[in-house]
């Protein structure tokens, strides 16, 4: 369902609001979406992955019918201690208690999704989706046309896409899955931290010394008040760039306290705090506007309705976080694609509207 909302900044125009759907409309939308996820699911199942038999190694994907490419980096299955150690003087309450987590293998995008990639999703004509009609690609709902320029003058070519809702990031994952036949989704919070740490257990993935942060990250101390091109700082040990700083990154999870008293030895496998409300969701990595303490691997940020406060309309846009100009995302591709029901859930939390 493509809603008719145009994004506005501090302006008024009437009768262009996003649709607040009736129960019947909502049910029809869900039926269409299930049918489309089924088509994408079948495509993912049918795809013979030439890499599956080989040892996992980095690879590049060129988005079909475009010249835009991104890199995927293999993340091995493993265990790690999630949260901050009691020895970390900068630790915050919501990073406690540190607890052991196991995650399955996946690939992760080496850099944050750039405008070059994301704008293909925003504008169907640029992605070749008009000329090359495809039912499953066409069936994914796309962002409403932005009213203003969403990079706010900070740069487009090679720069991270920003200011999208988690719903928009989920739909991007669905669209990219339909385009490529590979299953993509946002990382869980555990996957994100595991990939960020890349086998380390220090405050930052290069150690505990914040004075070295400038080699690895764009943050308040060196960003000149804006984001920078992706991949212009050193990567972590697994080849992931800008996990800390530049754009903060959406995860799948509801922002929730870690289980109090969770023993370090009680192992959680692939944890995912499934959202039951639109706010808050867990956002990770800190951004270009944050100080060093918020760029620690364990640091957590809770999404907030104020990130949309410049949107004057009700219902507010389900696509844009007008005030979160430091918020982006990257996707993961699990080594083993999920079943149909789970696939649907990854892309459809049902929480896209604020007023719930």
């Amino acid at each position: 369902m493509r809603t008719a909302l145009a994004l506005v900044l501090a302006c008024v125009f009437l009768a262009v609001g996003a649709e607040s759907q009736t129960a019947a409309e909502e049910s029809a939308r869900e039926t269409r979406e299930r049918a489309n996820v089924r088509r994408i699911y079948d495509r993912v199942q049918a795809r013979q992955d030439p890499r599956a038999a080989r040892k996992a190694s980095p690879y590049t994907v060129t988005i079909p019918n475009t010249t835009v490419a991104y890199e995927m980096v293999p993340i091995p299955a493993g265990e790690f201690a999630m949260g901050s150690a009691v020895s970390d003087p900068q630790r915050k309450k919501d990073e406690q208690p540190q607890h052991k987590v196991r995650v399955d293998a996946f690939w992760m995008q080496a850099h944050e999704v750039t405008w070059d990639e994301y704008r293909l999703f925003m504008f169907a004509s640029q992605a070749g989706d008009i000329a090359h009609k495809d039912e499953s690609v066409d069936g994914v709902s796309r962002p409403t046309r932005p009213y203003v320029e969403m990079s706010f003058g900070m740069g487009i070519d090679g720069y991270p896409a920003i200011s999208m809702t988690q719903h928009a990031a989920n739909k991007y994952a669905e669209w990219l899955s339909a385009k490529t036949g590979e299953f993509y989704r946002l990382p869980t919070e555990a996957e994100w931290e595991y990939a960020c740490r890349a086998g380390t257990n220090t405050a930052y993935y290069f150690g505990d010394d914040a004075s070295k942060l400038g080699d690895y990250a764009w943050y308040a101390a060196n960003s000149q008040g804006k984001y920078e091109k992706v991949k212009t700082k050193k990567p972590n040990a697994w080849g992931l760039y800008d996990m800390l700083g530049n754009a903060m990154e959406w995860t799948l999870d509801q922002y929730a306290p870690y289980q109090p008293g969770a023993a370090v030895n009680s192992l959680a496998a692939n944890p995912w705090a499934k959202a039951t409300k639109p706010y808050p969701h867990a956002v990770r990595g800190g951004g270009w506007n944050d100080a060093a303490d918020m760029l620690r691997c364990a640091a957590r940020v809770a999404s907030d309705p104020s990130w949309k406060q410049q949107d004057p309309q009700l219902p507010k846009s389900i696509w844009y976080m007008t005030d979160a100009q430091w918020l982006g995302f990257r996707l993961v591709r699990p080594a083993k694609p999920p079943g149909f029901a789970e696939m649907y859930l990854y892309w459809n939390s049902g929480l896209e509207h604020d007023e719930q």
């Binding site: 302006c11 008024v12 125009f13 009768a15 009736t22 046309r145 706010f152 009700l314």
Partner: protein
């Protein structure tokens, strides 16, 4: 936003109940509510912005209730109420019985007559002078969206109405929202205090995508009158929207007025036209206007509404000692002899408008934005006149313009000719 001092002050006051309120000499209507302490709100125009304003009104005061609504379309009313009822903190105070849902061009009068205390005006701006005058005549407090008129006679009417509101101790809060944004307030205070020296030029951009393009004539249902067709596609008709400079880029125009202390310019010249073909409406798709101020300062505003072009919404203030930039990155900044970046947390300006409006009502200390609501609107209209006619337009010419765009005796079923799009050099300054 909820820890703003005005909020807690207001809540305390509210909890102190009606006695204190009566003592401070409210307009009678609030006194009459002292038993339940409810403030009844009426909404005129139930689109996205009207719905947003209603949510903010209900959030501004624990005892505000939405009591009556007006629109031209029941489905829009249904959508508005459905959405408001999904917001848990306000749902219980959406109390609009079917008998209090009014349809049609006179629906605003029925809302006014339905014993509401506050009216939110959020229709297309052509109607605003009439709606505002009726509200103040009936002793209602008003939240009034921008712009407030599409022509100069409407602006003059609003100035009279604003004076009446003042005499009657009624609050009139305007939707020029940046004036209620702490981030922009602080930026203007810096400029005002001399951080960039003397302001010599203000350049504002409002390059965006189109707002509500005109549908093809074939989409018009059989039997739909001219008036209904135009109102349903209001953004494409000058008498209803005022054109993009007056309807959308007016936020930039208002910031220019703010920087110039709300003093009028001497004159302006402008260019504009329509380069992307469109049938059925009569608005331009681009403007660029140059205002001259008495001290020699210049202000430029450029706006465009086209697909596929470079977009930008920014403000650049150039002074003798530096420059101030708003809208390139999230925080305004000043560079030059003084270097400064906004580092606070911006609050929700739309909510602030309503927090202050309702607090003013509770305290019996009316706010009145009416004059600058009128003058900033006229500043936009003046720029449009210069672009439409190709002439230099003085402030006095604009203020005294006899050009009345809003039709007399508007009838929902009536016919209404669309005036041809303006042609510079041919279209006369009236």
């Amino acid at each position: 936003m909820k820890d703003e001092p005005t909020n807690s002050e207001r809540r305390d006051f509210l909890k102190a109940a009606g006695g204190a309120a009566i003592a401070t000499g409210f307009p009678g209507i609030i006194r009459a509510q002292s038993v339940t302490n409810a403030i009844k709100v009426g909404l005129v125009g139930c689109g996205g912005r009207g719905s947003g304003a209603a949510e903010q009104a209900l959030a501004a005061d624990d005892y505000a209730e939405l009591a009556a609504v007006a629109d031209i379309d029941q489905s829009q009313i249904d959508q508005c109420l459905r959405t408001l009822k999904r917001i848990s903190k306000t749902a219980a105070r959406v109390k609009v019985e079917p008998a209090e849902q009014f349809l049609g061009l006179d629906a605003y009068r029925k809302v006014i007559d339905s014993k509401v205390d506050v009216v939110l005006l959020a229709t297309p701006p052509g109607f605003r002078p009439y709606h505002l005058a009726a509200c103040i005549a009936a002793n209602k407090h008003v939240f009034c969206e921008k712009p407030v008129s599409t022509d100069a006679p409407g602006v003059r009417s609003v100035m009279e109405t604003a004076d009446k509101a003042k005499q009657k101790n009624l609050s009139l809060v305007a939707g020029f929202c940046w004036r209620y944004n702490n981030m922009i307030q602080e930026t203007f205070e810096k400029v005002e205090s001399g951080a960039i020296g003397r302001l010599v030029a203000y350049y504002a951009t409002y390059y965006t995508s189109p707002v509500k393009p005109m549908p093809p004539a074939s989409a018009r249902p059989a039997g739909m009158s001219d008036v209904e067709w135009q109102i349903r596609n209001w953004y494409n008709f000058v008498w209803l929207c005022g054109d993009s400079l007056v309807e959308q880029a007016i936020h930039s125009v208002d910031k220019i007025a703010w920087a110039m202390h709300d003093e009028p310019p001497v004159s302006c010249v402008g260019v504009g036209g329509r380069t992307i073909r469109a049938e059925g409406g009569n608005i331009y798709d681009h403007f660029e206007v140059n205002y001259l101020y008495p001290n020699g300062a210049r202000a430029f505003v450029a706006n465009r509404q086209m697909e596929g072009c470079y977009n930008e919404n920014s403000d650049y203030m150039l002074g003798t000692d530096g420059a101030c930039t708003i809208g390139r990155g999230p925080q305004p900044r000043i560079e030059g002899k003084t270097n400064w970046t906004f580092s606070g947390k911006p609050y929700d300006m739309y909510q602030k408008e309503h927090d202050l409006l309702f607090a003013s009502i509770r305290k019996g200390q009316p706010l009145n934005d009416g004059k600058r609501l009128a003058t900033s609107t006229l500043l936009g209209i003046m720029g449009r006149m210069a672009a439409y006619t190709g002439q230099q337009v003085t402030w006095d010419q604009a203020m005294n313009s006899q050009e009345k765009l809003f039709p007399e005796g508007l009838d929902w079923k009536g016919s209404l000719e669309v005036k041809p799009r303006a042609e510079p050099g041919i279209t006369k300054l009236v």
